[in-house]
Symmetry: D3
Subunit: 246 residues, 6 copies
């Protein structure tokens, strides 16, 4: 059940059955020479819709732009500052909590969002406590990173080994190929790829990772792999969601 | 050209031809008993993609949640506070301006966003001037409200007269029917509808507009009307965009 | 009744009769070669005092500095950033609402304030709801732009036609001449005047409007016109105020 | 020279002679049963205009609402939170500094403003340094409290002794009588008056100072005293200003 | 009783006896060629522990970094912006107030903190009132500047006369020598020392006070003096604390 | 080398040799019935001083209060909101970066700080880039969690197995016993201990973890263990630091 395709009367009815909502969150950032800039949002959204269907859960609109400041030296990257993302998440959760939602299940497609999301949750719990909203102390937020699902991780290792890398990975590229087969890209990938450097500012990042990939070989990705990743992630996160809202 | 389906290399190439980008912005808010909560985002996004195709312009991901605090007493509504939306827009524009974009064409689906967007633009121009980014004083932001296109407005008056109203209008409902025919809703609409009240806080709004409609009769909407509105808006805003970036 | 010339005992007594208050808001910005930098504040304040007298309404002190960032490339302009003005208005309204005021009638002298004011009102309604102040959901804020009064607009068109322009207009200059006859300025006005450009950042504005005027010919202003504008605006806004607080 | 009654061309000319500007700052707060709510703004503004005339200095519009949260339990009080006032002062100074002003002489009418103003100055100096504005490291802000002028203090002690008190004082009431003789108020003043308590929150303040006065007997004020205070303050602060901008 | 060396059970028990807490606040800033960068924090903390012991009061951890932006042109200085320090103090007091503390006795070692602390207190009282915490209107914050104790001031004058100066003073240097005899520093001190200049931005400060001292001769300090200052301050502030929480 | 016990001249000299600085960060929060409220700060500070000695590195003053909102329902807990901690870290790093420091090695004692610290680093890199400070793109911030050192973790498992738990652990309690043998606490510990629950708001936390421990048995801690943990952590983090600044 997609929030965007529902009416308020349907949401009112839903709230009599459930207090849970799924919020997909991605990023808009470079993903190497062949990865889509929307990769993280595309993956999170597709999986969220799958989980929503499987678990009969409401799915909110996707947070398309997340925390990607370190990718900022590549054109096309968009980012919220962490302080802005914290406010955005606080506004989302607070508004929905006033309507009666208490279980917020964020399906996340970008590792760089995690720290700021956790900070935002802490800020939000405290904010809600100050507002004395009914049921504020029942509010729970959870981050479900699809790429860290055990089954996904295992398959990626089997298929790609070390060439999975940690950004612009073949697994996420495969998933976007499955979702958008019309947008499969070709480009020469140098054999040498930046790897193992810590992440600091945007200028430094581009120095270390000149084509944007982090230790990955996205040329290994196939649409069929993408289908497998999608199905594994939907299955595993559906279980996680159902446990979360139980 | 959709930013989410592009690579950073493609954006780099695009920037050699154009400094313009289209940013759809909608809202996630009640639209009466039969209107979709995502109406404003759906319309803005669909039209933005149409304009992007016609004008060969890059289209950024949609801002799905806008300024809808006054609809907050209806479940399913989500909103950013104006102060958060200002920061979000500033982050969007600043990041893209650092990459070389200077012409920001926001295709907007929600009247309630306009004031905050204008405030955000003023804040952002001043912010950019402080950063001394190359070309900061060339940055221009424009709001294109699809529902205020002359051709759209004219057709709505012809088709619906006064029953167009000002929220949950048949014209926007028609457009969502065209985009999502699988999500056409039915519900009893009272003959009496709130009308003509000023907008203050959320509680007051629901008192004045008990089912969420503002003077409208969305039962008049048809999918075919939606197609007409779509085509008129795309045509008119394509011209606007081309003039804007000229 | 001017708040600044009242005691708190008088305000306490006033609150037994009325919940309404008038807040003049202007700007401190260039108004062309002959217009006073304080034009917008002077006009708003004078009219507010007139309405206050006619409607026996309390008038708060004038917000002298508004949102005029786009005029910032001309010396003497002062401005709040939109985010600051939002906080200021929120502080004003929240404090007065705690004392029992619920009807806030802003008499505005500057078009550039409107968007930020509307954003501020939305932010404030939500803030008040969070505070659980008694009567918070009765709080209403209204913008009354004196220069958009029907009677004022009509007279300006009659007297000046297209030479009214949209900034440093003869109508507002006339009104300041009526209020401050000792400060009528003379300067050569070029025949050519910037006109019809959109407003972006401050540097761009000065490029487009080199002497600060926007399509206007303030040399047409006379003190007698000013008196007429004053009287029309006071009459029309007195009616608006009385309707607003009814 | 009043900024509000000047044109930008006159300000441009002024800046060739001087980098100094006077900014009056007051407050809008209860001043006991007979003191005007605008007392602090009225005094600061009147003296600022006097100093402006004597020193041929530009006078900005008055900051009418300052930091008066502790008076908030009396109706009619308006206040900015300290964090808002800091932003306001930063916006004022930053904008004027960009135009070339470097010497900011605040004539202050309210003791409760001082701490926040000092905090604001520190914040602003650091902000300006970050902006790399030409001459940013020449910017100097000064607080001139008229009520702490040696000559004013001496006269108040002579005329009123201990009955001067520290809020709603006869000296400030006298000054407002001189400026606004039409607004001299009468009310019974209890012989007993709150005195010597520290200032904490607004509720506590009203408990300690039930009629708003702090140890003062404003019934001693006369219009003639007010004239004397005015003249002493203008003379002393004119000298201070001239020394400050030297 | 040091909060850091207590358990939450001990704090729970303490709250049955007392609502008071001591919070030491210092600064991390240059103190001339021989003064320790931590001087203000060291002094405040040592005295706070002494007062805590004498008054059986709980002592919170020290705020080591305060408002020292004007010392920022000397390496080793650290500072919060005033706006950050306000938030920090608000967070400290709000959290402790929720647990039941109402009397906050800040022992301060740095004059530059005072203004921002006062602003923070005002901001916090208002914030607490909005939260409707039980007992919020009993919350009181007090600044006790050890260097302004009558007995301390008197001894400093006796020992050093005018050479006490106002920053990097022999009295505070002496106190650090008493606390950290292993960290007594030697350096050539020029006979000439900056003196009497107002404080503006950091660059200006270093121009006026090239070695960091403000009119002081810290070479006069001895460890024995430090012991005397310590004992005087502890005695005087213990009395102040006991009176404050009575 | 402790910053607090250094002079600015010594820091100036240090900067000719090194651009690195160690910043200890802890927390002030309940640590179960027998753990010290200052545990996380005590451990981080002690180890930081050890590393500073071993690596001849400068050690800044400890951030005593971190992000511990979830412990807020236990008296004695103090916390910054994440948004405040972000500003604090940004102020720290920005000020030190202006003086020439580029390598910031945070020794952290509290898992709950990590997310907010990472968010703060991202925010700070972007902020520094906007300021155009020389060398801003060389700034690197690193979190070194002493409790996650391989050697520490291994010893804790050997000594305590599953009874190490994840908060109020015997390892951290042991370390505080080594540092403050005079503050070893005794209290009855229930055999049953909360375990395995996710962390949401403060009220929920106390429901799940009624005495504050998270799956730990701090009664196993000994001072001798503490010495071992201290030495292992200092050794391992000294190597990490030296590698970081290489």
């Amino acid at each position: 059940m997609k929030l965007h395709l529902s009416t308020w009367l349907e949401v009112e009815a839903y709230l009599k059955e459930s207090r849970g909502i799924i919020i997909p969150i991605g990023s808009t950032e470079q993903h190497g020479p062949t990865g889509l800039i929307g990769t993280d949002a595309i993956c999170a959204e597709a999986i969220a819709f799958g989980v929503g269907d499987a678990a009969r859960a409401l799915v909110a609109p996707t947070i398309n732009v997340g925390m990607a400041l370190h990718h900022g030296a590549f054109p096309g990257t968009m980012s919220l500052r962490p302080s802005t993302l914290i406010l955005l998440i606080q506004d989302y959760v607070t508004g929905l909590a006033k309507a009666g939602f208490t279980q917020f299940f964020f399906i996340n497609g970008h590792g760089g969002n995690i720290a700021t999301m956790k900070a935002a949750f802490a800020e939000t719990y405290a904010h809600l406590a100050d507002l004395n909203i009914a049921g504020a102390d029942e509010v729970k937020c959870h981050i479900a990173n699809w790429f860290m699902c055990g089954s996904v991780y295992k398959l990626a290792k089997e298929l790609y080994g070390d060439e999975e890398g940690s950004h612009a990975t073949p697994s996420e590229v495969a998933l976007t190929q499955y979702v958008y087969p019309e947008a499969i890209k070709q480009a020469d990938l140098s054999l040498e790829v930046g790897k193992g450097h810590n992440i600091y500012g945007a200028t430094d990042f581009r120095r270390r990772y000149p084509d944007g990939r982090m230790g990955s070989n996205p040329a290994l990705a196939t649409l069929e792999h993408g289908k497998q990743f999608y199905e594994l992630a939907v299955k595993e996160l559906t279980n996680s969601y159902l446990e979360f809202v139980r």
